[in-house]
């Protein structure tokens, strides 16, 4: 009996979930070890395993994003077209905050002295305006050697149209400096727009030696534990990639952690036949929302690493480092269990964005926190067990929470304690609803037709209340909600995403066919490397298009058939998507321009990855406690373990208390256990 193992590293905890072929699940939570994350993994695996064979290890890690956030990447150089070395620092000039004289730009990942130039110029059509000057390459090599550079990014203008000069520079560097890591822009992002391409290539170069070293260390630790099974990494786009591929293109795994939960949600949605699902992942400091439609996750073309949470809307960019690579589209807001509740200078109540974090944490943790947090409000209202979290491992001081909420919020506002605490939860919920609206309403979806899948340590506590506010009728709380990202890893597929700029103002079937065939072949080749035979490969084709004259693009599934058929069907497919997203379409006959192609090549696993059922967790919980609800005031509320629920719905109020999360079923809602092991909450 061999196990498949999912490992998700977070800032505080490393979560491990192992699943046997019969669906038996084993979990373990251990402290993360930031100086060497592979150590925490080894500790967790040693505790989790008792000599079983391991079939594969699937891993989501923050090592990429942490390297950027902490500025601990490799000493990196950038080679650009002469005249353009400042592109990386100019970015798009824009700042993420208005009226803020204290704003500081994130420093460029390559200092100016290491931003080197070669004399050359390619035209937008791929023809050569200025031939590549070998003497200028030699000067770059000299500087790279003298400055002890470990990693080099190469990004020349218009290389997406003709990569010959980039290849020549890369060949020269490889010959002269075989130990220096190379990241070449046309291999990473063959798309027009020099800043996103340069930034993405530089991020890849900056984290590559660190990620490679980490994966080497992790592989050694796995071997030391007798695990020789393949290691796969979760990519930001939600697909798995072999460790070797991730080491060469680490820009793809920078946001791997949050992606895993959404992938798990998509797999679960398919099993449950939920066509329209919003994922809601709430932890200690932030909450994230994603969209799963017809089994597909919503993806975005670009993201910013280290930008922090979205500032109200995703209009103001520039706070982080741009990565223009497909990623699961998550809207993130600064509301979590640790979010601090305060009054502003004019006496209005505010929740967040300040967070008490893990240290000192909420007032009730008794570690020195003085300002009330969302967790304190949940404790005051009886939703959390005063005996403590995680089976009593974290003790909670309810008296301290009561005082903090009274002194800081209720008394100054002149509200009863319960209404003040409940009001703070509603404000937090309003912030979280913005994330949910960002992935639904702002994309033309009517949120009322969706189900809400809630996970993360705090998601199940808030989900029913948020669903009620948004008019959502059904909430699903999966098994192991607090470790759902690690679980999600076990449900992901191997995927390779490839994109190309096209810019076809006039229909050119031959050019389209050539580009499409090349992308499909690239995906097939990579899957073959991963060991997938032709009958276990699939490809999803997407076009990016716009009305001629528009400056932003929409992604639409590529119509079936060969190039002429695609070109014939595209205008209507695009107009339909435009109407769905923006609520209007241009008058008939408005020309549509094809701007790019994307292909997702997916390896189909040999066996279904999702077991038929996850046995519900059992635990000893107090039978009942007093909890406060707006409709009923203080109410004796039954407390159950997940296994205490039945397939027959039971009326709220109820509290389902588990080791890793607490699920609140308010009055008026009902909860039942489904065949898979999910808690299903129905609202009226």
């Amino acid at each position: 009996m061999s196990l498949r193992i999912g490992i998700d590293i977070g800032g505080t905890f490393t979560d491990l979930v192992a699943i046997a072929p019969d669906g038996t699940v084993r979990t373990h939570k251990t402290a993360s070890t930031p100086h060497d994350y592979s150590q925490g993994i080894a500790t967790g695996l040693a505790a989790l395993l008792t000599g079983e064979a391991v079939a594969e290890v699937l891993h989501a890690t923050t090592v990429g994003s942490n390297t950027i956030l902490e500025g601990k990447g490799a000493r990196t150089a950038l080679i650009t077209t002469a005249g353009f070395r400042d592109v990386l620092e100019i970015r798009d000039l824009r700042m993420p905050r208005l009226y803020d004289m204290h704003w500081t730009k994130p420093p460029a990942l390559v200092e100016r002295r290491l931003r080197l130039e070669v004399s050359e110029k390619t035209r937008p059509d791929g023809s050569i305006a200025v031939p590549l000057d070998p003497a200028s390459i030699a000067a770059c090599i000299e500087r790279i050697r003298a400055e002890g550079v470990q990693s080099v990014a190469i990004c020349l203008l218009h290389s997406y149209a003709n990569p010959a000069h980039e290849r020549a520079v890369a060949d020269a560097l490889r010959a002269a400096l075989p130990d220096v890591a190379l990241s070449v822009s046309h291999e990473i992002l063959p798309e027009i727009k020099e800043y996103p391409r340069t930034s993405t290539t530089v991020v890849n170069a900056y984290v590559q030696p660190v990620v490679r070293a980490y994966l080497t260390a992790l592989s050694a630790r796995l071997r030391a534990l007798g695990i020789t099974a393949p290691l796969h990494l979760m990519q930001s786009n939600g697909g798995l990639a072999a460790a070797g591929h991730a080491a060469a293109f680490p820009a793809h795994i920078v946001e791997s952690g949050p992606a895993a939960g959404v992938v798990g949600a998509a797999a679960l949605a398919a099993r449950l036949q939920e066509d329209r699902l919003i994922t809601f992942d709430m932890g200690g400091t932030t909450a994230k929302a994603g969209l799963v439609e017809d089994g597909h996750v919503l993806r975005t073309e670009a993201m910013e690493v280290g930008a922090g949470v979205m500032a109200g809307a995703r209009l103001l960019v520039g706070a982080g480092y741009m990565l223009k690579l497909p990623a699961i589209d998550l809207a993130e807001v600064g509301a979590g269990g640790g979010s601090i509740c305060r009054l502003d200078a004019a006496g209005a109540p505010k929740v967040g964005p300040h967070s008490a974090g893990a240290d000192p944490g909420p007032v009730c943790y008794g570690r020195g926190g003085t300002e009330p947090t969302i967790t304190d409000c949940n404790l005051v209202l009886g939703y959390l067990d005063p005996a403590g979290l995680a089976g009593g491992a974290v003790k909670l001081d309810r008296e301290a929470a009561l005082h903090a909420v009274t002194d800081h919020i209720a008394a100054p506002l002149g509200l009863p304690l319960e209404q003040a605490a409940h009001g703070m939860l509603r404000l937090a919920a309003a912030t979280m609803m913005r994330a949910i609206r960002a992935v639904s309403v702002e994309r033309g979806r009517d949120v009322r037709g969706f189900s809400l899948l809630a996970f993360g340590g705090n998601g199940p506590l808030f989900a029913a209340g948020i669903a009620a506010e948004l008019g959502i009728r059904r909430v699903i709380v999966p098994p192991m909600p607090g470790l759902f990202s690690a679980f999600g890893l076990l449900l992901a597929d191997t995927e390779h995403h490839a994109t190309r700029s096209l810019r076809m103002r006039t229909a050119d079937p031959a050019a389209l066919q050539t580009a499409l065939d090349a992308l499909l072949q690239e995906g097939a080749d990579r899957l073959a490397e991963d060991g997938f035979p032709p009958d276990r490969r699939s490809a999803t084709r997407t076009a990016r298009a716009r009305y001629v004259g528009q400056s932003s693009e929409l992604s639409v599934p590529l119509p079936d058939g060969d190039a002429p058929a695609i070109l014939a069907a595209l205008p209507e497919a695009f107009a339909a998507e435009h109407a769905r997203t923006y609520g209007f379409r241009a008058p008939p006959g408005e020309p549509v321009e094809l701007m790019g192609l994307s292909v997702i090549a997916r390896g189909i696993p040999e066996h279904p990855r999702l077991p038929a059922r996850i046995p519900p967790a059992t635990a000893t919980v107090p039978p009942c406690r007093r909890a406060w609800f707006e409709a009923t005031g203080w109410t004796d509320t039954p407390v159950l373990a997940r296994a205490g629920l039945a397939t027959t719905p039971r009326q709220g109020p109820l509290i389902v208390q588990e080791y890793d999360a607490t699920c609140l079923v308010p009055p008026g809602a009902s909860a039942a256990l489904d065949a898979f092991g999910n808690v299903r909450i129905e609202l009226q």
Partner: protein, 586 residues
């Protein structure tokens, strides 16, 4: 009165609605001016046209929406019905300049408008004598394009085809203008739906009370922030080089800031009479510059709404360059807005020296190159370049960052080259351009274009050529702007000319002003600038009294100590506001 939780939930909802409107335009708009430069704004107003919430977008539009909407309300009075959509762009009837077209849609309760969805977008072209409709050398508004008084774009749900056809026939790129108008309507639709939800939840009386409470909360917040600042009064004078018509005649801007208790005022009395060139502000644009400066000094979290306006008065005499009257041309008034912001910041810097930066790059440079290619297809390349912030009393000015008054993005070089008959030869920072100081001003950015078509019209609206970005408290000014035809001649800061195939045009933005005595600049910071190539070895000696040599340059500490001692002895007391390079006086 509503409870505080409901009020806060409403504030969140109404601000989110303004942002959703902004996002809708951002995504659906056709023109790059809207998407890349975010030259648009969205808002929710109450039935009197007072601003309740404004979406995240352009600071320069802060005051424009209430002024324009209130003008429409005066025009139409009771003649406003469900299904109506109003529009206008007339600067002399509440607008700003002709490319800025407003679209307003009412939301009804009990048969009367209870709130308004408001949008304003800078359109690519509204006709007139030059492509882009933004020439700085027009002398009357009649040359600048189509002037739209308050009119109904939709009348009880029926599109006004007469007006739409007039617009269609009078602009150079009608598909783009119509597409952007559709984006404005889509944003109004989003707002109307959101307001209908809020109306259903709170009722008409509740919605009115909550809008009032939202503005009252902002007023309390503004009063609180104002009360924490010391009282005082200061007057600052700044200059625009000229208006391109009366070349070489400087234009004066004067701003007096008075702060007393919970109240602040900006008075522009003393500014030059309106000018012939197209750089005359309207009231709302000068007011926006005043508010931007005030908000940057008060608190970044100050909401944008009428409550804040109640605590800050702006007086702008009519007939001046800061508030032109008919028939003043105003298409390129962006420049005067930027200078007004510099001037208002300057006055605040005199009052609150530890809170305000030295002069930034002077606002963006507007560059338009347009014409017809060989197949007589029109092309218009409109770009706005900006560079750098002035040095702050606590840190260097930002390099490569948009100006505070307009959060504009730069276009992709590759896209410009792919879509226009232009080749870009370089784009980057220019050494020794940031104003020297204990904290250095941001660096100049320069760009060079080569014309690939047989010819096109080049228009440039630059400034800060004779009046540099000022330094403060011992810091020197930044370098002046520069326009040149490389290999041919130096050019004026503002120009309209024909660019022929093969000609190469270069623009250098001004460097930003420095703050504090440059001889006090830390050697670590000078060493970093030397290593980065932002300060040359010659510049380090001249501006900072630092002796360095080698590649990478290494500082000679003993020689530096000697040079700095010598320069300190020679240095005259620096003015609070420095307009000329410090070494000119030595």
């Amino acid at each position: 009165m509503q409870d505080p939780i409901t009020e806060e939930l409403f504030r969140n909802a109404i601000v989110a609605l303004g942002d959703e409107m902004a996002l809708t335009i951002y995504r659906a708009a056709y023109s790059g001016v809207l998407k890349n430069i975010m030259d648009y704004s969205t808002a929710i107003c109450d039935s009197q046209g007072r601003l309740v919430a404004q979406g995240l977008s352009l600071p320069g539009h802060i005051c424009s929406i209430p002024v324009a909407l209130q003008s429409c309300l005066r025009h139409f009075g009771a003649d406003i019905h469900e299904g109506d959509v109003l529009t206008m762009n007339d600067p002399y009837d509440g607008g700003m300049h002709l490319p800025d077209i407003f679209v307003f849609r009412p939301v009804f309760a009990d048969g009367k408008p209870i709130a308004w969805a408001a949008t304003i977008c800078h359109h690519t072209d509204v006709g007139g004598r030059v492509p882009g409709s933004n020439a700085s050398d027009s002398t009357e508004i009649y040359a600048e394009g189509l002037r739209i008084p308050p009119l109904k774009l939709h009348d009880r749900g029926v599109p006004n085809e007469t007006l739409l056809r007039m617009i269609d026939r009078n602009v150079r790129l009608p598909a783009r203008v119509m597409g952007d108008l559709r984006a404005q309507l889509a944003a109004c639709e989003i707002a109307a739906r959101g307001l209908a939800d809020l109306l259903a939840r709170h009722g008409a009386a509740g919605l009115r009370a909550l809008m009032d409470a939202t503005m009252a909360h902002s007023e309390r917040l503004a009063r609180h922030c104002l009360s924490e600042l010391p009282d005082g009064e200061a007057t600052f004078t700044d200059w625009i080089d000229d208006d391109q018509i009366d070349a070489g005649v400087p234009i004066k801007l004067v701003c007096t800031v008075r702060k007393q208790g919970e109240h602040m005022s900006f008075d522009w009395t003393g500014s030059s009479p309106q000018v012939k060139g197209a750089i005359n502000n309207t009231w709302s644009y000068t007011a926006a510059a005043s508010f931007t400066a005030a908000k940057s000094v008060l608190s970044v979290n100050m909401p944008n709404n009428d409550g804040v306006f109640r605590c800050i008065d702006v007086t702008v005499p009519a007939g001046t360059v800061t508030n032109g009257v008919l028939p003043a041309a105003c298409a390129a008034r962006g420049l005067t807005g930027f200078r007004a912001a510099d001037c208002a910041f300057g006055a605040l810097a005199l009052l609150y020296p530890d809170r305000v930066f030295a002069a930034s790059d002077g606002g963006n440079t507007g560059i338009t190159i347009g014409g017809y290619d060989e197949e007589r297809r029109p092309y218009i390349y409109v770009d706005f370049l900006s560079a750098a912030w002035g040095a702050r009393p606590w840190a260097d000015g930002l390099d490569c960052n948009t100006t505070m008054f307009a959060n504009m993005a730069s276009f992709s070089i590759e896209v410009i080259e792919a879509e226009n008959p232009l080749e870009i030869l370089d784009y980057g920072m220019v050494p020794d351009t940031g104003g020297p100081g204990r904290f250095r001003g941001g660096m100049s950015l320069a760009r060079t274009w080569r014309m690939l078509a047989h010819e096109g019209i080049l228009q440039v609206r630059a400034d800060r050529h004779t009046h540099r970005p000022y330094g403060l408290h011992g810091g020197g000014p930044g370098t002046p702007s520069r326009n040149a035809l490389l290999g041919e001649s130096e050019l004026a800061a503002k120009l309209t000319m024909t660019l022929k195939r093969g000609q190469v045009f270069r623009h250098e933005l001004p460097g930003a002003g420095g703050w504090g005595n440059p001889l006090d600049r830390s050697l670590d910071l000078v060493a970093k600038d030397l290593r980065d190539g932002l300060v040359t070895i010659e510049g380090a000696a001249r501006d900072y009294g630092v002796v360095a040599g080698g590649d990478p340059p290494i500082i000679d500490h003993a020689a530096t100590h000697a040079l700095r001692t010598q320069l300190r002895a020679k240095r005259k007391p620096a003015p609070i506001v420095a307009w000329r390079p410090l070494h000119d006086d030595n």
